[in-house]
Structure formats: C-alpha cells, structure tokens
C-alpha cells in the first residue's frame, strides 16, 4: 500500500522495526481468492532461504506452476471440493482451478499484509508512491478458498488445517458469514486450533455498518478488525449551472469532459422503472441520457456498475449520490466514465437544483490525489459495529485500521472496477472494506511477532489494542463518518492501531488456550460443543465458578440489566454491581503502574483494586479487579469509559462500553 505506512508512523521509525532476519522468519497465511504471483509486490529480492520449518508448497493448477513461487511467495494452495460439491464443477473458462487470483481481492489483501517494496506504484497516477505491505520482510502463503460463487466452510476449514500444518504464524481472513455460535462457525473453530498453536488469526469485522450488532467474527480468540480512513482523498468536483460546486471523490482516468457544461438529468426522470434512480442494468432510457451527466442514487447494485449502466445508455458522465445508509462517506471508484461520488448532503442539494432548474447543467472536474486530509482517521460508515451479538461481555471490534481507498496489488485477470466489461489492466488497485483493514493488522501482527517471537496471539493482540489511540492530536475523539460525531468503542473497539507504540506496550493481557476453555464453560457450553472447538474431551468442573467477565480480555464490555440486580455481585434497588478481573503481564523493565479511570456517565461508579501495580521483573503477572456499580437506565442506553495503566512511559489503555438492556 502507499501512504498507510506513513500514516501508521512506520516510515519514520525504521529503527524500531525488527531486523529483517527475524522478520523473514514470519509467515503470513492469507485465505482469500488466490494470488497473482507476477505482481511486483511478490518480488523476493533480498530475502534469504525459506525458513526450514516451512512445510507448505505451491500447488500446480491451471495457469499456475510451482516455479512461480519464490522466497517471498512461499506457498500457494487452492481448495474447491466444498465449493464444487455445492455449486458444481468450476467453470474453468471464467476462473482458474489453481491458486491463481482471477478476482484481485486476494492479491490486494496479501500484498497489503506483507508485500515487498515497489517504487512508483499507483492506479492511473492516483495514490502514487512507494507501495509496501505492513510487514514487507515477511513471507506470504496463499490459500485460495473463495471462488466466484463464494467461500465455503468445508474449504475454509481444510485451508486452515493445511496452513497450520504448513507452519504459518499469522492467518489473515478477510471474510465472514452469518452470526452463529462459536461451535458452529468454521472460522471460529479453525481459529481456535490456530490460537492453540500460537497462530494469530486476524479477521475482518464486516461491512454491515453503521447498524448496531452487525459484526462478524466475534470469537474472542480472533482479532476482529474494523475500518477507518486515511488522510488521503481523491477529490472530483461537481460544478453546476447555477455556479455552485460540490466536492466528491473519484478514481476515473480517461478522456475528460468538455470544458463547457453538459445537460444534467436525474436517473429517476430518465427511466420507466420504479427504481430508475438507482441506475440498475437496462433501466435508463438512452434518448433521455445520451450525452448528458446522469445523477444516480447509491444502493442495490455496485457503484461502478451504475457508471457502466450510464455509459451503456450513452451518458457522458455520472454523479453518484450517497443516501442515508452511507451518509457522508466517500468511497472512490475506478469508474468507466467520468464520474464522482458525493455525500448525502451534497446529493440532496444537487437534486434540489436538478428538480428546480428547467435546464440543469453540470460538469465534473477531477482533482487527483490529495493528502493531509483532516480529521483522519474517521470510522468508515460501512465498518460493522457492536455490541457483540453472541457474547455481550466481549467488546468487538477489537480495533480499527486503514480500510478506505487502499492501494495494493491487483490481479492481471480483471480490471480495476471488477466489471467484466472493464478491459483495463492495472498492477495496483484502490478499493475499500474491512477486507482491507484486516490485512493491515495481520501484517502489523507479523511485525510484532518478529520483534517478540515468544508472544502468544493474545499478547500480540493486547499490545495492538492497548496502544491504539482514540483521539486526534487535538484531543478530540475519533469521528464516525456515519454520524459526523465522535465514534464509540462499539465502532472503533480499542481505537486505531498504532504499531510503533504496540512494539513496546509495557504490559499485556495474555490469554492461554485453557483460559478460553474456562470462557466456554462460563458460556454453559456442553462437553460436545466444547469438543467441537477444542477437539479435547473436556468437562467443565462443576465445583468451579466460571465467569465470562474473568476472561483476560484487553477491553471491557459491560451489559447491564435495567432496574435490577445482576449476576456477578450484590446490589439491588435498581443498582447493578458487576466485577471484572484482569491480569497484566510485564513485558518491559521493572516499573510501577498507576491506574486512571475516566467515564462519560455518572450512572456507573468504577473502582479499580489495587490502584497501583509494581512489577520487578519481566513476565511477572499482577491482577486487579474492576467493580462497576451501575444505576438503572432506560433500555438501549449506552455509555463509555476508559481504564489506563501508566508508568509514565507506557500507556496501557482499555475501553469500557456500558449497555443497558
């Protein structure tokens, strides 16, 4: 990617980054649509021999020879039996029965995680710069599990099975399914074994935001990643006949519109279809749009598809207007015709002009790449949000990372819009999604793994979470583009990843596989359900009191019942008392940490005991208890706080999210 290394502070702190020899021992496995091995991002220059522990291979298949792999791309497998059992044989005229990426998504995610440095990368000149993955020295292994018809759980499980055998250290999975109990969810099941073997599994949170309870990949042994913006934009301005200008975004490259203003029409008035405003295929009347700029509303079909529909009908350009579902979020696309996406407010004002002027006119002016955009990051509207619909006591997402307008490697099989009619071919593409934020964290986890090879997946996640930031340099809270207001831990988790701080967190909240078994007991899972996840014959100890709130998670989600006492403590008379126990492990010099607690509500009293923890050696553990004493509040009320342990050098922060139900 370009820009994200600098945005994350990696560019100016190379001295903090692990030496390349330890970095090259780390292997990132990516489950996705495969790989385009010819991408310059898989250049293996400067990399030594493949680690001797590596047991993976490059599988031969259509358009894919084992010799394509190298010291960077050290593994490539494909899994299609589950897919073909359900949807029939792969149509080899449209997709390759091999690890080859015919889609682009897998090449994008894998190069984001661990692509080599490529100078002068860009998409049509947009986002120009030196592109690199987050862990450019790490090795990459690709597991193709996603095909044109989707990604099937039998294949995903087998890919995870093989990746574990092969010897990956990090698994990056930018995919998700519906919400189901952990013991039914193949990703959660596979991730449990991976976690047991010391492999960190990073998954995307989903793109179902800004609705609440919209998260995927909720298991606490998974690192769940939401998406935020960069400080980069691709402005494309709409100039109207009334002299007003509106700012949008676009990655269009090609013949520009004439300098003079063109006729401008609302798609809903150029169609006989009831949903003509959406520019669905075949709904525009060519006589009404020929040579004109067409305003289409966002929704239902793909954004780039709308542009193709306008072009097909003879339109000269397109203005794509966000609706309430997307608000002011501006996601840039490599449209096939001159086009720009504008926010909902601008869209409404432009439509007012369209509906009030008898002869509306407009043009679109493209502004290239702009950096230094503030505020940034902001939480992407599409990024899925909490609360956690399976285990309310575990806060998800865990954190956010860059996921909007990300440039990374692309497949040579498909154009940047992904449309079949797009004959353009590019080395890099710019796309958005939590699919893009997930591999950022996967690569950063690889960096931490190289620096601290003995750290558990939970320790690595803890360091990423407790050092994440939730405010801008101005002190204001990170915004949510969906509302234009400050985001909350249900949107950003612990905050935005800060890898430089994460390299030296001071303290970590570690979690062992046994701790997760206790957590499953606290969920009242049956022995069979636990065995589904752990493969062990495991029976919860009936004499032991298990508590979900004792899982040593680096964040706090506190569900509170309305007007009654709840489990975990006494209380009564409209007061809830809940206790959470946590254990911190020292991973730096001896130090004494003191706690500070902040909260935006007076309805909950928070007390931490003890208030000070002294560590005299590395790996020493100290526990503390947090007691939340909450007054009643109307159902649906939420509020937030933060617990920070600091020795003056490190800040070990944990978000708190209260929700009354």
């Amino acid at each position: 990617t370009t820009r994200t290394p600098e945005f994350l502070g990696l560019g100016k702190s190379d001295g903090l980054i692990p030496a390349s020899n330890s970095m090259s021992d780390v292997i990132v496995g990516v489950l996705d649509t495969g790989v385009w091995p010819e991408s310059k991002s898989f250049n293996d220059m400067g990399l030594g021999p493949v680690p001797i522990s590596w047991k993976g291979e490059c599988e031969v298949g259509k358009n894919f020879n084992a010799s394509i792999c190298n010291r960077k791309l050290i593994g490539a497998r494909f899994f299609s039996k589950g897919y073909e059992a359900t949807l029939g044989p792969i149509d080899e005229s449209s997709e390759s029965r091999s690890p080859r990426d015919d889609d682009g998504h897998g090449t994008h995610t894998s190069t984001t995680a661990a692509g080599s440095v490529v100078e002068a990368a860009s998409l049509f000149g947009y986002a120009y710069g030196s592109a690199r993955g987050m862990a450019p020295g790490a090795r990459v292994a690709i597991y193709k599990v996603c095909w044109l018809g989707g990604c099937f759980s039998a294949d995903i499980l087998e890919a995870m099975d093989k990746a574990i055998d092969d010897g990956v250290n990090i698994l990056s999975m930018s995919l998700g399914g519906g919400i189901s109990d952990y013991f039914r969810d193949s990703v959660a099941i596979g991730a449990f074994t991976a976690m047991e073997r010391g492999i960190l599994v990073s998954c995307s949170a989903g793109n179902a935001g800004p609705s609440s309870y919209s998260l995927s990949n909720l298991a606490p042994w998974i690192t769940t990643v939401g998406a935020g913006t960069l400080d980069r934009d691709f402005p494309a301005y709409v100039s109207l006949g009334n002299g007003k200008n509106f700012s949008g975004v676009s990655l269009y490259s090609g013949k520009r519109l004439p300098d003079s203003l063109l006729s401008f029409v609302y798609a809903g008035n150029a169609s006989n279809a009831t949903n003509g405003n959406l520019c669905m295929t075949g709904t525009l009347i060519p006589e009404k749009v020929a040579g004109k700029i067409v305003l289409c509303d966002r929704g239902l079909n793909a954004r780039v598809q709308k542009g193709a529909v306008v072009k097909e009908a003879g339109g000269a350009g397109m203005v794509l207007a966000n609706t309430a579902a997307n608000g002011e979020e501006l996601v840039a696309d490599a449209h096939l015709l001159p086009a720009t996406t504008v926010g909902q407010k601008s869209g409404e004002l432009i439509k007012n002009y369209l509906f009030s002027d008898p002869n509306p006119t407009a043009t679109i002016v493209f502004g290239g790449t702009k950096v230094g955009v503030q505020p940034s990051p902001v939480v992407a509207a599409f990024s899925s949000r909490g609360p956690n619909s399976i285990t309310a006591e575990i806060l998800k997402p865990d954190l956010i990372a860059p996921g909007v307008n990300i440039l990374a490697g692309w497949s040579g099989k498909v154009g940047p819009s992904g449309l079949s009619v797009d004959n353009r071919r590019v080395d890099f593409n710019i796309i958005s999604g939590t699919s893009m934020s997930c591999p950022h964290v996967s690569g950063l986890a690889a960096l931490l793994k190289a620096a601290h090879f003995d750290w558990s997946p939970a320790a690595i996640r803890s360091s990423l979470m407790t050092t994440a930031y939730t405010t801008y340099k101005t002190g204001e809270k990170i915004q949510d583009v969906a509302t234009g207001k400050p985001s909350t831990p249900f949107d950003h988790g612990a905050g935005h990843v800060d890898p430089v701080s994460a390299l030296n967190p001071g303290l970590v909240y570690d979690i062992t596989a046994d701790d997760y078994l206790d957590f499953l007991c606290a969920l009242n899972y049956t022995s069979a359900q636990i065995s589904n996840l752990s493969k062990k014959k495991f029976t919860c100890d009936s004499s032991k009191k298990y508590s979900i709130t004792d899982l040593n998670y680096p964040s706090f989600a506190v569900p509170l019942e309305t007007a009654q006492s709840v489990a975990g403590g006494g209380g009564g008379g409209g007061t809830s008392v809940v206790k959470y126990t946590r254990t911190l492990t020292n991973v730096d010099s001896p130090a004494t940490y003191k706690v500070t607690v902040s909260s935006e509500t007076e309805s909950v009293k928070i007390s931490v005991v003890p208030e000070s923890l002294s560590f005299s050696e590395v790996n020493e553990k100290k526990s503390y208890t947090v007691t939340f004493t909450a007054s009643s509040a109307p159902s649906g009320t939420t509020s937030f706080g933060r617990i920070v342990w600091s020795d003056g050098k490190h800040m070990v922060g944990s978000p708190i999210a209260f929700s009354w139900t």
Partner: protein
C-alpha cells in the same frame, strides 16, 4: 407434492462431521477407518471430501438430510453441521 418432497429428502448437501476421537472404538487403529466406517453406516455411496487433521477431528461429506440425522445419532459423533457460505468483506 410427494415426489418433490422425496426429491428434497434425497438431495445431498455438504456437511462437516465432528467426531469425538476419544470415543473411537478399540477395534479401529486408524481414525480414518473409523470415520469411513461411520460414514458408510449411513450411506454406502457417500465419500469424504476432506478429512481434517488439525482444526477438527472429522471430515466433510455429502449426505441427504435423513443420512445426516442418522449419522448424528451415532455414538462418537459430536455434531453434523451443514456447510455454510462465507463472503469476502
């Protein structure tokens, strides 16, 4: 209607079968043989798509709904879960 219902019952779907390895009968020395025997006890024609080594003890196969139900009721079977489709984000 009866024909449609029969077809539905006979239509095979992909399932992931979780086995309790600790309950493998002594008569088996190889877990794969045990998996195969369990599968063949409900469907002579069914074949394993995958047998998993790490992430679960078990295998993926295609079964009718009736076969899946029958398999789930057998000793040593933890669960028989239908395959699920995931999507890229």
């Amino acid at each position: 209607a009866a024909t449609i219902e029969t077809r539905k019952q006979l239509k095979k779907k992909t399932y992931i079968v979780h086995m309790a390895k600790s309950e493998m009968p002594d008569s088996f020395t190889e877990h794969l043989n045990w998996y195969d025997s369990s599968l063949k006890s409900v469907s002579e024609s069914a074949e394993m798509l995958y047998s998993y080594n790490n992430v679960i003890h078990g295998f993926a196969t295609q079964l009718t709904a009736e076969e899946a139900e029958s398999l789930e009721a057998q000793p040593g079977i933890l669960s028989v879960l239908p395959q699920v489709r995931y999507e890229l984000h």
